[in-house]
């Protein structure tokens, strides 16, 4: 009898451990109790909003998912739960997840030359797909937005010379370093990946591929992805979705590419995303495969000292962020309109960890 009870208890424990919460059409909610740590997080993320000078931290959305449930959610400015907010460069990591599905379908290998899928790269035969994913194509690209508008490659790509065919504009850049050796953040590299996807999946399937491959399986309904004049997705910059929808991509990554019973992204793909890239040139960031990590290639601590080493993120202009902390079961979406550099990722991660799981001041 005792043995039977023991077995039963063991069974119940193992079942509840395996029971994971997943969002259906809506997320389930389990709001965190209000306490000092939550107040500290709020006063950091939502100070009085300065609309006149646009200075300081200006959070549009802060959504925290703990073990698959919404535990904290607040919006600022004109952004609401149903606003498809511009993600800027978070688009790059979303694109990586779209590519992950294509990778699982066997449509390409990481070592394939870009030229196989994007012929204008015949002039750069040594650049491989994995080099683009590491932002290490070696192309002579200038990523500054506001501070060097005259020779900024990204401004020209989005708004002037490049906008007709953004991938081709990227291909026309010269070489600054050997492909695959040096990290040099480039929206052009991401845009070329978006163009290569067209050949990988075929012209007909391409226009809806992000939806059929990724968004629909995850239940994402709010997405917009703008294109250039040739119909190529602006993979570097122009994906939009609600905070709640972006969190679905975070949860997919937190659970290593698995969505409920389906391994949507191969584990090998997620491993590639989360492996630090070893760059010959020194960098302040810790880039992985189109995601940002908190561990460097030589095993040192990454840029967010108050967050666990397994933290990773998708980051965008003006303070957009999707943070994932698998060891804490956390996904955090932060949308913003920060026009200066006062926002600090580490500070937000520290306060959010403390508010939700009572950690962060270690």
């Amino acid at each position: 009898m005792t043995r039977l009870l023991f077995t039963l208890a063991l069974l119940i424990i193992s079942c509840s451990a395996a029971a994971e919460t997943w969002p259906s059409a809506q997320w389930s909610e389990r709001p965190t109790t209000r306490n000092e740590a939550v107040s500290a997080l709020e006063s950091y993320a939502f100070p009085a909003r300065d609309e006149a000078t646009r200075k300081g931290v200006r959070t549009d959305a802060l959504l925290i998912i703990h073990n698959g449930e919404v535990v904290y959610e607040r919006y600022g400015g004109v952004t609401r739960a149903d606003t498809p907010h511009l993600t800027w460069s978070i688009s790059k990591s979303i694109l990586a997840s779209v590519l992950g599905v294509a990778f699982g379908e066997g449509r390409f290998k990481l070592e394939d030359p870009v030229a196989t899928f994007y012929p204008p790269f015949n002039v750069h035969p040594d650049i491989k797909l994995q080099d683009l994913l590491h932002w290490a194509s070696g192309l002579d690209w200038q990523e500054d937005y506001e501070y060097a508008p005259l020779n900024s490659s990204v401004v020209a790509m989005l708004y002037t010379r490049g906008r007709g065919d953004m991938a081709r504009y990227t291909a026309e850049h010269g070489i600054a370093s050997a492909p695959g050796t040096s990290y040099r953040y480039s929206s052009g590299d991401s845009t070329v990946l978006a163009a290569a996807l067209k050949t990988m999946v075929g012209e007909t399937a391409y226009a809806d591929y992000p939806w059929t491959a990724l968004f629909e399986p995850l239940g994402i309904t709010s997405a917009t992805w703008e294109r250039d004049a040739t119909g190529t997705f602006v993979g570097s910059s122009y994906a939009y979705m609600t905070a709640r929808d972006l969190a679905r991509i975070g949860l997919l990554m937190q659970r290593r590419g698995r969505w409920q019973d389906r391994q949507l992204l191969p584990q090998a793909w997620v491993d590639f995303n989360l492996k630090p890239f070893k760059s010959l040139t020194p960098t302040d960031e810790a880039p992985g495969g189109h995601w940002w990590l908190n561990t460097t290639a030589d095993g040192k601590a990454g840029p967010w000292p108050d967050a666990p080493a397994d933290t990773f993120a998708a980051l965008g202009h003006w303070g957009q962020a999707l943070y994932v902390i698998p060891s804490a079961g956390l996904v955090i979406v932060r949308y913003a309109d920060d026009r200066d550099g006062s926002y600090d990722h580490n500070q937000l991660l520290k306060l959010a960890l403390k508010a939700v799981v009572g950690e962060g001041d270690k």
Binding site: A156, G164, T224
Partner: protein, 112 residues
């Protein structure tokens, strides 16, 4: 060589001005493509981002005006019926068009 030296000696200031002019001309030539398209940045940025602000993010008019505001003056004209935005700045004009719920906004030709 002697003749040039003496010219520099006789006219040191004119020589300096001439040298500066040559350098400036060289820089302009070097940056000619960038300089030619540069003025379009303001109107293109304004038209595209205002269009997306209004028709993709569904934000109010006043908010989107302040959202696209830059340090250089620009104007925005909204055709809400056709979801089309025209903007001007630095003497150039650009137009953006909303194309659908999945496609969002795109700048219209010609490419500068």
């Amino acid at each position: 060589m002697n003749a040039r030296k003496s010219f520099i000696r006789r006219r040191p200031f004119s020589s300096l001005v001439l040298l500066l002019l040559v350098i400036i001309a060289g820089l302009i030539w070097n940056w000619r493509v960038q300089l030619q398209v540069f003025p379009s940045i303001i109107s293109a940025y304004t038209a595209k981002e205002y269009c997306s602000c209004r028709f993709v993010m569904n934000a109010p008019v006043e908010y989107c005006h302040s959202y696209v505001k830059q340090w250089l003056p620009s104007t925005v004209d909204e055709d809400s019926l056709n979801k089309r935005i025209t903007a001007t700045g630095l003497g150039r004009g650009s137009a953006a068009q909303w194309e659908g719920p999945r496609q969002g906004c795109r700048l219209l030709p010609p490419v500068p």
